[in-house]
């Protein structure tokens, strides 16, 4: 199913009542279109002109949701437009997953489901998805909206995104060039990204309205955007400076770094970086051990770059934002804090 008016029809939503939201969804979707999108066809699938892919193209695909971050959004005042942020989270999460392989994103598809569709929620979600797609330079090629009474709890929504990217086989980052002695550099997250919400919600659910030191509420901190690392990483990729990358998602650094390390190598973490305040609030409110904090949350580092030590200064200079020395690749296994 493709196109935005189809989405409403398929879900059986009264188009008259939803007209306002529909036109904004329609406009949001088409705002992402690039010349590669074939339009005006009676398409059952979205059509993307993939001419000019690199030689021996590798397609990299990722499907993901945003976990129970949706439950925080569902508790917010509609005026806060929290679902817009969830839409952006969804795209950016997938962009980062594909980026780890050295791939550039090509197109995105979304799925939104709820017991009863609220047109303003859908409009916020799709406008967020579309804005993040525009920033990544990719079309929102298709999507589906499903009304599933009985399957979803009232007022709750699930969202699923799929991103397809491409990289030439000779530019694919597969971790094989990672060496002992390489340095591990970190880029900042803005908060939890989209992971650790089961623990965070159980610890903080009665404190959503409490202000942290910057005056913003706990809920606002929990909803902080899962940022895209595409703009900062792409110049580093093009300069050939990267041996490997990791996206710090569920499982934290210990769960994600080993996924890209060759057999026989581990990482010693000895660096320091700013930790967003929301993590210390969770740690203290829940009496959560440091080990569990590290296994569940990104703790302020959302994306990791593995580079030769002699290239560290070049990476730092070329990056358009602070780069933190997190640790070093060493013989061994897994991630250890030293």
């Amino acid at each position: 199913m493709s196109g935005s008016s189809d989405r409403y029809k398929a879900a059986g939503v009264d188009l008259d009542a939803a007209d306002q939201a529909l036109s904004s969804i329609e406009a949001a979707v088409t705002s992402t279109y690039t010349p590669r999108v074939l339009r005006g066809l009676g398409a059952f699938g979205g059509l993307f002109d993939a001419s000019g892919l690199p030689d021996r193209p590798i397609l990299v695909a990722s499907t993901d949701g945003v976990g129970t971050k949706t439950r925080v959004a569902a508790r917010m005042d509609p005026e806060a437009h929290a679902w817009r942020g969830i839409g952006r989270d969804l795209v950016n999460h997938c962009v980062n997953d594909v980026l780890v392989q050295g791939a550039q994103p090509l197109f995105f598809l979304d799925y939104v489901a709820s017991a009863a569709l609220d047109p303003t929620v859908i409009a916020d979600l799709v406008s967020g998805v579309a804005s993040a797609c525009r920033e990544a330079g990719i079309p929102l090629l298709g999507g589906e909206t499903a009304e599933m009474p009985g399957v979803y709890s009232p007022g709750e929504v699930d969202v699923v995104g799929t991103l397809v990217g491409a990289v030439g086989a000779d530019a694919l980052l597969d971790g094989s060039s990672i060496r002992e002695g390489d340095v591990v550099l970190g880029l900042a997250s803005h908060g939890l990204q989209t992971n650790g919400f089961s623990l965070a919600r159980s610890v903080l659910e009665d404190r959503y309205d409490e202000a942290l030191s910057d005056g913003r509420t706990v809920a606002a901190h929990l909803l902080a955007e899962h940022r895209s690392f595409l703009p900062v990483v792409t110049p580093l990729l093009e300069a050939g400076l990267l041996h490997g990358m990791a996206h710090v998602t569920g499982g934290g650094m210990p769960g994600n770094l080993p996924r890209v390390l060759p057999e026989g190598l581990g990482v010693a973490v000895d660096g320091a970086w700013p930790e967003p305040e929301v993590f210390s609030v969770i740690r203290e409110a829940g009496g959560v051990t440091e080990e569990e904090m590290r296994r569940v949350f990104n703790l302020g580092i959302g994306f990791l770059l593995i580079v030769a030590e002699e290239d560290e200064a070049k990476v730092t200079a070329l990056a358009s934002e602070p780069v933190y020395r997190v640790g070093r690749v060493q013989r061994g296994h897994g991630v250890t804090w030293v």
Copy 2:
């Protein structure tokens, strides 16, 4: 997120308890792999070698669920392995959507979410997805399993599939060769496919255990598989016999045929074909008007082929199953029964 063991870890499922299901999931996923899948990489996205795509490749992508057919599956005895059928439905629905454009499938990704993951449900689902992927000759390239307490009602599951296919620009079927006088031919569905379940459930929910004339229960009829039309359609595509196609999903023939018809053309339906018994049971039990039946259900025709009248005999001869004359393309708009 990619790979099957990751899926459990991310969802926080106890791996010891789920070991049995996990190994069957692992085996099911890898059973779909073709030489195009790049394995052994610490992949955050699934990697597919797309070398040798047609000139000016058009990627065709579709994301879809199976609607509230899941609610029928959720009411079945686990021994019936109804989720296996749901997994097959999910793949086949997407295969057909992409096929309409003349595209062949490349790879599939799935998403499964529930309030609490039941390893046997997941194992059934993934084994069904994998079996349909194998039949389509495509890998299950990635997937995500999410545990979302509070978002989903207890015992309910949602599943989302994304399929990416490809077709050369010169082989893309965009409806532009459809002419007045072309005949519309139909291929049989096995039942509701994955559409019309809100109406069907509301009418039949107290009669799931009742036997129809073949001895199979109403529930079994409702769960009849959404078949893939890929094997029967591919030889017709290769022979260049098709002007257009439509997948009869939500909206029935009136909702789906016009999506592929050029401006100024409609279809007059004057043919006959076998209607599965479940539709007459729904019609009678619910006092549903014929107009609504046609707008909600496929009524026995799951996929439509639009061909020049002089090619009808060739299509019928080349097809490996019965082909029904459904109607004819005429000047006008929409679908009318005559």
